[in-house]
Symmetry: C2
Subunit: 285 residues, 2 copies
């Protein structure tokens, strides 16, 4: 049996009781370690589970999945995923591959950032489609996400923006020379995301958002030091929200008063928040 076990968002104790039982009994335990991270390291997980954990990088999952699945028709294999196994990153390909090999799968759900973002007090009902933001480079500033967000904005819906992480990436030079040397991991911050959004708007000029558009930054959702900040994109582009992981929500105009009351608690500046709320005609449907 292949078990896809969600680990939740913050630390080793966010696994469910059922998930922990599976991990303790599984023959092999893999940790998907390239689309998201927990806020604790592998050693801490191993100590908590009392089991060795094999880190599964993108290459292993995408091209070596048969190694993960080896023998899983006879023994239990646990594949651990930060958040939920079918949340922001969907591991349907692994399940489909297992099925081709005649191996049954079971999923142990857990909190995903896709629902955990509800901690902002914004109603999940009022969210449109979710988008991802990648790290811009000098020469590559993709703006396809802009069209998706535009659709949400036109309907007055909130948009969850998931932020890029780079782990186990090689520099172009090391890649060209075939050297398996990896760059230090990078995690996009709320400030970087807000800054890139302002950059895209300057390029596209369709007025989907602007420096005064309201947004909420969320850092380390579900952890003891979770931090939420509400403000304009301009304000958020300068905010320091501490260690990863970060996410951002661009506020939709259909936001209602209970949502306003809740996020206003986290305003960088209550005066600019109120002014932007009024000028941006938030709260109208």
């Amino acid at each position: 049996m292949l078990y896809l076990v969600g680990l939740g968002l913050a630390d080793e104790t966010d696994i469910t009781v059922r998930g922990l039982e599976v991990v303790k009994k599984a023959e092999r335990v893999y940790l998907e370690a390239y689309t998201s991270i927990l806020l604790v390291d592998k050693a801490k997980l191993e100590a908590f589970y009392g089991r060795p954990v094999i880190e599964a990088d993108r290459e292993l999952v995408e091209t070596g999945s048969d190694d993960i699945l080896a023998n899983a028709d006879k023994v239990d294999v646990a594949f651990l995923v930060v958040g939920d196994p079918f949340g922001a990153t969907t591991h349907t390909d692994l399940v489909l591959r297992a099925r081709e090999l005649g191996i049954e799968s079971k999923v142990i759900p857990n909190a995903s950032i896709m629902s955990g973002i509800g901690c902002t007090g914004l109603q999940l009902y009022n969210f449109g489609q979710t988008v991802s933001m990648v790290f811009f480079t000098e020469t590559w500033k993709p703006s396809s996400y802009y069209d998706r967000v535009k659709e949400n904005v036109q309907l007055g819906l909130h948009t969850l923006v998931l932020l890029d992480i780079k782990v186990k990436e090689q520099s172009l030079e090391n890649m060209a020379r075939g050297r398996l040397i990896y760059e230090p991991p990078r995690y996009m911050t709320v400030a970087q995301c807000a800054g890139q959004m302002l950059e895209t708007e300057e390029e596209r000029k369709e007025g989907v958002w602007g420096p005064d558009s309201l947004a909420v930054g969320a850092a380390r959702v579900g952890a003891a030091d979770q931090k939420l900040v509400a403000g304009t994109l301009q304000e958020l582009s300068q905010v320091d929200m501490g260690p990863p992981l970060h996410s951002l929500v661009l506020l939709g105009r259909r936001a209602h008063d209970l949502e306003k009351d809740y996020i206003r608690q986290f305003a960088v500046n209550e005066e600019t928040f109120d002014a932007s709320w009024k000028n941006g005609k938030y709260g109208s449907s």
Copy 2:
């Protein structure tokens, strides 16, 4: 401290390890028992926690929240919510009330149907806004949800439809006579939801969907006997998916091939599925 603890979706073992620690130590433990249910009863939870659990109905939460919060500045109170505390139903009002009383709150996230629906293999990125479906009566068939779904359909996005539950409801007669007699609980099925959707379309006639529109029914997400079914609304209006809880996803046209491959596994009828996929121009963006 007020702890809002997510219980996840299926049974008592879906609580997180951290959530369980909180419940075991809290002075009082409430269970929000009117917007969703676990698939096990209160006695099973009490046995698992080794603690008495107080059922909190709508009245207690909405008008008696100060009883729940009594003394919570000095002792720990756990408020248990099926799914995630800020998922489909958002308990921001309780947190805001606690704050007014000078009581701190902490949230322990868990799986919500809003992300758990990813078990269908449909990408959460491709969902638009979520809607709720209430039980129609002879004289009350609200169709405001139709306008929301229309917005999603026009963008080619999937729509998660959350289905009504009725617990601790009085009949009109008992209510008029002030008799505290409650009707047996009712949980909407996928078949009822699909039937009501076809009824609304017949009334509104804007062609947002039809009998051949594809949808996925999900029952008991996260449980051992989880059941998924893919088919046309016509087919789903006749499907028996067993005990509650049920949800439905109306498929958006932007669905891509990996999603198709995944849901096709659950097709009521692969031939009508393929025909509807083709005729409905699914898979185009």
